[in-house]
Amino acid sequence: MEFLIATGIGAMTAAGIYLMLRRRTFPVILGLSLLSYAVNLFLVSSGRIAINQPPVIQAGVSEYTDPLPQALVLTAIVIGFAMTAFVLVLAVKARTETGSDDVDGGA
């Protein structure tokens, strides 16, 4: 399971990096989103993988997965959305102002 998750994170990171290195705003933003998915998964899994041990206290249950990374990632997801929204709006604005969505600086 660990191997599957690690490689899944790797695949999302790789695709995210590749998209981030494109010349247009939209793929860059998609790449950024993917990268944040990968990072979120990484953070959660740094609390180690536990199956069916959600951190919800129940009578008679003593094994719980680590709740701390989850709390971290929960806000990270929301903030990640806010960041995506902001960058998207920047991209839209840049297109309106310059007529182009090129972010390669013409170089």
Partner: protein, 89 residues
């Protein structure tokens, strides 16, 4: 008995998901892809519910509920985009 049935069901749903993904990737029309995504969502609901049965836990039911809801809204958004281009007019 239940385990075996559950396994078969999970396998079937996974297969359905793979096929949906295949359609999503193949297309050819954008409408095909949107429909494939919607189906993928619906299959995921089934997968989550069966996982909950296997885990014998109710904590995941809301996730299924939310997948149903967000899948529906996501499909609306994509459909509206294809139809009008503008989501909020």
């Amino acid at each position: 008995m239940l385990t075996a049935a559950l396994n078969i069901a999970i396998a079937a749903v996974l297969l359905a998901m793979l096929l949906s993904l295949w359609r999503l990737l193949r297309g050819p029309a954008p409408e095909d892809r949107v429909l494939a995504l919607d189906t993928l969502y619906i299959n995921t609901i089934a997968l989550v519910l069966m996982l909950s049965i296997r885990f014998d836990s109710r904590l995941y039911f809301e996730a299924a509920l939310l997948i149903a809801m967000t899948g529906f809204v996501g499909t609306i958004a994509l459909a509206k985009y294809l139809l009008r281009g503008n989501l909020m007019d």
